[in-house]
């Protein structure tokens, strides 16, 4: 039993750390967005669609709808997803795994932490 106590303590610490990790850092996310996303997406209110749709207010929105008439792929349009934090974090790490058939060619960000940072930044754009 005593051998398991440190492991249990570590698990508790990890569990406590996880929500903070998932919450992300919006400032770092802004930098990541600039490097990884801004080529294809605008994020300011009223910004134009490019190869990808404008992402202002994307958090909480239905996937494949609206966005100023952006031409979504059939796969995205019928995905039935809602862009909550967890879904966006998963999507940003592997877009084509979460929505097979999406036309978003981006292979994904480096890791969950970076995805969380970007989502934190997107959360500020509403």
């Amino acid at each position: 039993m005593t051998l398991h106590r440190p492991l249990a303590a570590a698990a508790v610490l990890l569990a406590l750390a996880a929500p903070a990790f998932a919450a992300g850092d919006a400032a770092r996310g802004a930098e990541s967005f600039k490097n990884d996303c801004a080529a294809c997406h605008t994020v300011v209110q009223g910004g134009p669609n490019r190869v990808g749709p404008n992402l202002f207010g994307v958090l909480g929105a239905k996937a494949g709808e609206g966005r100023g008439g952006f031409h979504f792929s059939p796969a995205m349009a019928r995905s039935g997803l809602t862009w909550d934090e967890a879904t966006l974090i998963r999507y940003l790490q592997a877009p084509r795994r979460v929505v097979p058939g999406t036309t978003m060619s981006f292979q994904g960000v480096d890791d969950a932490a970076e995805a969380a940072d970007i989502v934190a930044y997107l959360a500020t754009m509403k």
Partner: protein, 450 residues
């Protein structure tokens, strides 16, 4: 492409001179207009052709991704002009670089090109270039790369599959290690070129037609296989190409495989490639060339303020000169060449670039294939050449908020190429008193794309 300095049509010399050494320039804002992305999105240094991960994907997807409904049809057309000044350490009064140039200190309009670039239909796109060669004063069909590509899951793995109809083995490649897209991206067409180079180093560029199938699997493996045949002499003539170029005796095959680890911020790649070709020598059989080699790349893009890239290539060619040897134009039935090239670059704020590189060619001694002649010859009967290059670049535009973006871009460069050995020797390499260092070349260029 440059004309040979060597008077005889020795096969290896003809394949080498100018082709591959003097790179053709390519960069077009039509893609930027189609995607509404700045040049920096797809190109390191805000100017083509050096691709980022985003650029590689755009190319592999057949130039088809677009913003909204895409641009007007006429916005798919782009132009490009490359002008330069070339100074070599010693002029070449015995063998002027071209019929329209002086012996040294030449200003030139290297080339002016018209492009079609971008999506044609859903999964079909093209990159087509027509060029006025200002050195040799001819208008010709230049690069052609027409693609059909799709991205889909194959057995649960994200895969890009495509077919490219093109006119140069290696031009479909997404990296910058093979000769078709390797550094230097531009070089003087008015400076002496080494006597020999492998056939994959531009020897078939533009003179063939063919197709390759390619796949990028899981973002980790890239593979391509292609087959090529010679254009007929009539087609070559009407395309502004050399109708007297040697013809392939049978279709040439090309393949390449690369393993990569790529994110949006970095790339590590190692690969291998090969081409098998046979060129018919009139009246005396066919020369066979087996080119094969290995390559490696890295790109570190970080937050785009400081960017580092490195590219290396080793290319070996086994030549079986049935035709050339049979015709008495080489001393050996079998010769070989090896080329080694490596480059490192650093870019600051996608605006200021510095590149350094080394190159070395070694090969068989062949006293008939490689003969003494002013400037371009080899008194040692060897193709061995080595040296280094350095380049400074300035790209003032091409960023998201740049002047005239996405309508025009400009690159100004200063390139220096130095030779420690040229065509087999450092001193009196040509048998007429010329030293390798006499070919050291300063090349200033202005490259405009619109």
């Amino acid at each position: 492409m440059q004309k040979p300095y060597v008077p005889r049509l020795a096969i290896a010399a003809m394949l080498a001179l100018g082709v591959g050494w003097s790179q053709q320039a390519r960069a077009i804002p039509a893609f930027s207009r189609q995607t509404q992305e700045p040049c920096t999105s797809c190109h390191i240094g805000a100017f083509g052709p050096e691709l980022t991960g985003r650029g590689r994907t755009f190319k592999l997807l057949g130039y088809t991704e677009q913003a909204g409904d895409g641009p007007s049809w006429w916005e798919h057309f782009s132009g490009m002009v490359l002008g330069s000044f070339t100074h070599t350490a010693a002029g070449t009064p015995q063998a002027k670089p071209s019929a329209h140039s002086g012996a040294n200190d030449n200003f030139a309009l290297d080339q002016a090109s018209l492009f079609y670039g971008g999506r044609i239909y859903d999964h079909i796109g093209a990159f087509i270039q027509l060029t006025e060669d200002g050195i040799n004063r001819r208008f010709h069909v230049d690069n052609v790369d027409i693609r059909y590509a799709r991205q889909q899951d194959v057995l649960g793995v994200d895969t890009i599959l495509g077919i490219s109809a093109n006119n140069n083995p290696g031009v479909a490649d997404p990296y910058h290690t093979l000769p078709a897209w390797g550094q230097p991206f531009v070089a003087s067409a008015l400076a002496p070129s080494p006597i020999a180079g492998a056939i994959l180093n531009g020897g078939l560029a533009g003179q063939v037609y063919g197709a390759s199938a390619y796949a990028r699997v899981g973002g980790m493996v890239y593979a391509e296989a292609g087959i090529y045949n010679s254009l007929s002499r009539d087609v070559a003539h009407y395309g502004g190409l050399d109708p007297n170029a040697l013809q392939l005796a049978n279709p040439a095959t090309f393949w390449r495989v690369a393993l990569q680890q790529e994110t949006n911020r970095r790339l590590f790649e190692v690969g291998a490639f090969a081409m098998n070709a046979a060129l018919r020598q009139p009246g005396s059989g066919a020369d066979r060339f087996l080119d094969w080699g290995m390559d490696a790349s890295f790109q570190f893009l970080g937050n785009r303020t400081h960017m580092f890239t490195g590219y290396g290539r080793w290319l070996h060619e086994d030549q079986t000169l049935n035709g050339t040897f049979g015709g008495g134009n080489s001393a050996n039935l079998r010769d070989h060449l090896s080329e080694l090239r490596g480059n490192l670059s650093y870019w600051y704020q996608q605006t200021y670039g510095v590149t350094g590189g080394i190159f070395r060619t070694t090969g068989s001694a062949d006293a008939i294939l490689y003969q003494a002649s002013p400037v371009g010859g080899s008194v040692a009967g060897r193709p061995n050449t080595q040296g280094y290059m350095a380049e400074l670049d300035w790209v003032p535009f091409g960023k998201p908020d740049s002047y005239l973006s996405p309508w025009a871009n400009l690159k100004l460069g200063l390139q220096y190429t130095a030779f420690s050995r040229f065509n087999g020797a450092g001193q009196n390499y040509d048998g007429f008193g010329r030293n390798a260092s006499n070919n050291n070349t300063l090349y200033l260029f202005a490259w405009v794309a619109f």
